[in-house]
Symmetry: C2
């Protein structure tokens, strides 16, 4: 019987929004795996999370870290940050876990005071102009063009047309009623399954989980319609939601995200398009915009010799 063996070493980083292991800064002539490629990265290939646009969502099981992105739904993001700074989300609960779709939290008892906006205009798409769009050459089932903006998977109708975030694994969106104006950020959902692209352009996307999504994706599924929990005691309480900037700097997790407009990201995409390790017999040749996890890591302190160099006159 064969040994228990990974399906493929190259899929080490397959999970979206997973922190990558720290590896020594060795150089490889031709990186064959994402891990080898990351070992060649430079500090300029990474950007820190902005603590003003980062949420820490704490469950009993641990912390989920969400990067908010004001580029697409600025008023929604601002309202969510206002709610978080008012500690409005504390004590809410995940009320819905629909398999292969979403985890969604809300105020199940309708117990919270009115804070922030009552209605907001739909921010489902925006102009593509002014966005630093790193385009994928791969065809997409749904959109004329797909690529990345600032770490987010994005579709657009063309450089002069509309742009909108793509519902990939880990995306955070704003639940709403049939009336788009009811989407104000008091109920958020996280994609925990195959990308539900039918939601694109129908929802305000405000962010994505960059760490801890497994705390949501492994929650028990709801057995009610649409995956709602049928019993109140099944709900998963939210201890608190904080804007990272509220915490003292020493208590923030110093995460860095790979810059999707850096040259190294193109190499990473190519390694996912055509896997090079010995396990794969037929390379895919193409890549899906939702199957290119953007690497996240803890901030790497400069190696000692580099710091020493800097001290030289």
């Amino acid at each position: 019987m064969p040994l228990i063996r990974p399906l493929a070493l190259a899929v080490l980083l397959a999970a979206a929004a997973t922190a990558v292991a720290q590896t020594p800064p060795k150089r490889f002539a031709q990186p064959a795996t994402v891990r080898e490629l990351l070992a060649t990265s430079q500090p300029s290939d990474w950007r820190p999370l902005d603590p003003e646009h980062t949420l820490y969502l704490d469950l009993a099981a641990g912390r989920v870290i969400i990067e908010l992105e004001p580029l697409f739904a600025p008023r929604h993001v601002a309202n969510i940050e206002k709610l978080a700074r008012a500690h409005w989300y504390d004590g809410l609960a995940f009320v819905r876990l629909q398999d292969n779709f979403v985890a969604q939290f809300a105020d199940p008892l309708n117990s919270k005071p009115d804070v922030g906006e009552k209605r907001l205009p739909a921010e489902f798409t925006r102009s593509a102009q002014g966005l630093a769009f790193t385009r994928l050459r791969d065809p997409d089932t749904f959109a004329p063009e797909v690529g990345f903006v600032d770490g987010f998977a994005v579709a657009r109708s063309g450089a002069e047309g509309d742009a909108w975030p793509v519902h990939c694994y880990g995306v955070v969106g704003v639940g709403r009623d049939n009336d788009p104006a009811t989407a104000i950020g008091t109920e958020l959902y996280v994609v925990i399954g195959h990308s539900p692209r039918q939601l694109d352009r129908n929802v305000a996307v405000v962010g994505r989980v960059v760490m801890g999504i497994e705390l949501l994706s492994s929650l028990p599924r709801g057995t009610g319609e649409l995956g709602f929990y049928e019993q109140p005691e099944q709900r998963v309480p939210i201890q608190s939601v904080r804007v990272a900037a509220e915490l003292p700097a020493a208590e923030r997790r110093p995460l860095e995200v790979m810059r999707t407009d850096a040259a190294i990201f193109q190499k990473l995409v190519e390694l996912r398009r055509n896997r090079k390790d010995a396990w794969y017999k037929v390379p895919a040749g193409r890549v899906d915009v939702c199957n290119v996890p953007v690497p996240v890591r803890d901030r790497v302190e400069k190696p000692e010799h580099e710091r020493a160099d800097k001290r030289k006159p």
Copy 2:
């Protein structure tokens, strides 16, 4: 604050491989939702699971039902059925839960006797000829053509070319080492995340979960490399795996799967391509082959008046 509300009624059946609710056979002039469409279905739109090609995988938490499909990897399926009939899988365990990727079981102690094949030829693709292929008109990122064969998402290079199963949510494949011949069915994985299309044509796909996948997708994620559990006690024991035909007929679950070559399935695809309920503001216009869950239901007994009719001369 808005009421807690489903994101969309039309996504009721969004979860892949989920049994659909039984609804009375009412007629709708123009079904606007999958539920309404299913209510118009005829008995001929469904086929029963073949108990000779159905596995019951029992965990402490419940039963996972897998439909095996010999069309693509017949020797692998035959060997898996042989192993199951020898009760070889009993007492094995899920050893790997990689978020947004796979749940994989194996014989962690290498404790089992040799049963069945030691090596098998790769059955990763086959000829497209002879397959009843229901083609989707929607473009696909990876393959020239995608569609359905016998309830399975399938890609092909053309009607005279190759065909292979697509790695959608719930697909069951055969783990292997770098050598394709090591894939014999002693380690199986189930896709529990965004479709890992890079695996297409690199693995023998043998089936798909038609019920109970939430028992796997909600398992705790492994914290070792590639999602392996680091401690033996974290593994999730398999109580037993049985070919359904081994059980007395009365103990089998009488599941039926929608025929993907029936006209009603085309209507279902169209309802997922362009959602009609009031929640959606912009229909997608396209559908992804991995976002068309094939309905599964418990067998519906004929209504009394139909049975009475049959008894008339």
